[in-house]
Amino acid sequence: MSTDTSTIVLIGHGMVGQRFLEALAERGLTGTHRVVVLCEEPRPAYDRVQLTSYFSGRTPEELSLTDAAFVEEHGIELYVGDPAVAVDREAREVTARSGLVVGYDVLVLATGSYPFVPPVPNKDAEGCFVYRTIEDLLAIEEYARRSTTGAVVGGGLLGLEAAGALRGLGLTSHIVEFAPRLMPVQVDEGGGAALLRTIEEMGLSVHTGVGTQEIVVGDDGAVTGMRLSDGSELSTDLVVFSAGVRPRDQLARECGLSVGERGGIAVDEQCRTVSDPRVFAIGECALAADGRVYGLVAPGYEQAETVAATIAEDESSFTGADLSTKLKLLGVDVASFGDAHGTAGDCLDVVYSDSRSGLYKKLVIGRDGTLLGGILVGDAEAYGTLKAFTGSVPPVSPESLVLPAGAGAPVQLGPSALPDDAIICSCNNVRKGTIREAVTEHHCTTVPEVKKCTKAGTTCGSCVKVLGQLINAELEASGVEVDKGLCGCFSQTREELYEIVLALRVTSYRELLDRHGREDARGGDGCEVCKPTVGSIIASLAPTIGAGTHVLDGEQAALQDTNDHFLANLQKNGSYSVVPRIPGGEIAPEKLIVIGEIARDFGLYTKITGGQRIDMFGARVEQLPVIWARLVDAGFESGHAYGKSLRTVKSCVGQTWCRYGVQDSVRMAIDLELRYRGLRSPHKLKSAVSGCQRECAEAQSKDFGVIATAGGWNLYVGGNGGATPRHADLLAQDLSDAELIRLIDRFLMFYIRTADRLERTSVWLDRVPGGLDHVRDVVVHDSLGICDELESLMAAHVAHYRDEWAETLDDPEKLARFVSFVNAPDTPDPVVAFVPERDQIKPDLPLLHIGLRPADDLLEGTATR
């Protein structure tokens, strides 16, 4: 079949279609075949599983699964917005809507499914929607602007997602489910009850055991409500049908391919249609050899791989797939795996249920102790491990696997107990043995490296935590000893030093070094790595441990990097820049004038910063106190631009002026900046507040960013710009002012507690085991029981904040250090010189030709520095 000129035509460019193209490319088939793709939607394949994340700020571009480069590089002819309308199997030709006719040697149908809309009266009225494509979402978003209430028909997986999205759009939301419980396919009665309680607590109304009888419309033909089977009427402005999907097999039917009784194109184990050896079907449109239509992406991917292998004449088959799923719906973990409903008969259930905290865990165990399957609601932490053990007898008793940590004997069943052929990543079918080999044979030492090497964890990400544990276990087993110590002076990590300082109330660096440093470093003078790190830890905890609260107090002064030491930013010629705080970027004209006057009087170079304030460059050390005396007089305070601490909280102008704004972003930015000013942290902290989803303040590129919604604030964390940009992750949504501040308090203090030295939140989030989910568990759900402590640490910081510059000006001893020369306090440093540029000054750069230099000639060779 793989003759040089043959053509493969793919109908449908969804997730499975795209995976098929990737599989072709990996096998080199795009080089030997002409590949033509007909795509109905106006855009190429995107991540439909993450569709709902559009409402938390992901753009259609970010959801995209492919790019022009992939299509171009592999010579794929992709026609978007041009669906196939007819297949002539005699002539082996496909006709597209545009009239394009393409001949094929192999035809692959990946037409997916369509949303099932129950045949109720007025189902097509204005205000009725389905939830399937980006275009559906855009339409719902548009219509929701003039609505206050929304109802979702269907309480399954997609239905809950849709309801969450409506709530995110600020609507009062209802869920109507015909079955007696939510998510009837995945969970049982007990799990459904736990889920129901949690979802109702979020303010969604759930109506189970009732059907929709009729959509009620007003005089204008638009939806006003729905009549339910129990005779009641629910008033709503908008209805989203999410009552399941049906295979899109129309095209197949029309060209005479056999389809199943309840739909789906019938295929064999190679995913070849039973009617025509040249035609294949994959994904949600296919009725697999085991008689099922799979609505999950993982089996679809497996089918795509199978077809690519078959075309390459490799042996491969798809005989059925596991329906295990792990989801986060409305922030609630829901997972089911294996034989979740115990259909095998002769099996026993082990159930742990805690209605109060919305937990439900059930394991289905065979007579011989084999783990057959299970359901987890509220906490799916153990999913990765349990799923991998499915089909075998776990090495510990089943009940210990579902009991919460701390109850009885908590068992941490590590993934190292798993057999080598246990599947760790089911999306990409990666076995534990393969992951171990990545470490032992391919020398991978980190999760990103193993992901790249094995593809494990690259699709849904639910196995990444297990992946990390496996890698560490493997590294330890192979005797790789990694010195995780902070520097040559301390064998502890920054996090461990933080715990020591906090627990033992250590207020002196010297004491810490002499008692807890490495043997040969004790009694010494430390180094430039640990001094500022410990200085920062002591400063973060100062009010709590009883240390001096000023960074230049006593020994603290000797620990600070030069920026902190002079409370200004050192520039390349030895001069400093000065940045007063301008909270939220809001400044009155009088204060602007003061800044202008000071800059003019001292001949400083001024520049507007990216953080919405003004930087004044070119001040000499001895000028700093004089400049600050005038700034403090005018009501300014330190901007901490010099510190590893909160920099700025940017804001857009917000609701007050902007016609799109939905909240007062400026006020919130000022509140946040004033609350966290002066907070010393492992690295600098940047923040922003946007007054609406247009995100003009670029909050998603900040360590913590806040975006206004109609219902409150969404909090994003771990964003970064710079050399390694990272979009922030949504931590929580629709928070009130108080909830927002409490959550940021906890988040920042948890970061300060556990991050490495100079580790921004973005890197930290990717490094900590469990990543964002773990951080959310800790700061939102208080899984470690430390939130009270985190909050009180922050409260102590806020209560003890003083302006560092005002205090320095009041302290002659500290002021005495602000001189260029200890023996000539009034003499300016002659090396600091300036030349004019564009009406301002710039450093006089031929510095390297001034003064004494012992190794002039040798330095030529090191010019790359």
């Binding site: 003078d525 430390g526 990097d561 023996n823 003499t827 001034i850 190794a855």
Partner: protein, 116 residues
Amino acid sequence: MTLTLETTDLKVQLRLTDAWFTVCDLSTLLPGRGVAALLPDGSQVAVFTDRTGRLYAIDNRDPFTGAAVLSRGLTGTHQGHPFVASPLLKQRFDLESGQCLDDETVRVTTYEAKAA
């Protein structure tokens, strides 16, 4: 500041080619923090003390950038030797020999220092 009484009257002196030159009171020096002093010939020197009270003096000029900033660097101990790290690009210099620990081709001038 943790000053001990008996040191307050002492001066820090540097040996120049012909004589000892007084730069400041010993009490001005804080272990781990340097000060800069101006020499009669217009060059600059960075003076340090460590926690044992030993004094060190090196050229204040950072040879990698030309800025006179070494007195503002953080000090430490590397394999038993005292050093200062430039506050600009963080190269470390041995306070006793002036040798750069991160580039063996670079060395700064050192001065003999005493308290008297």
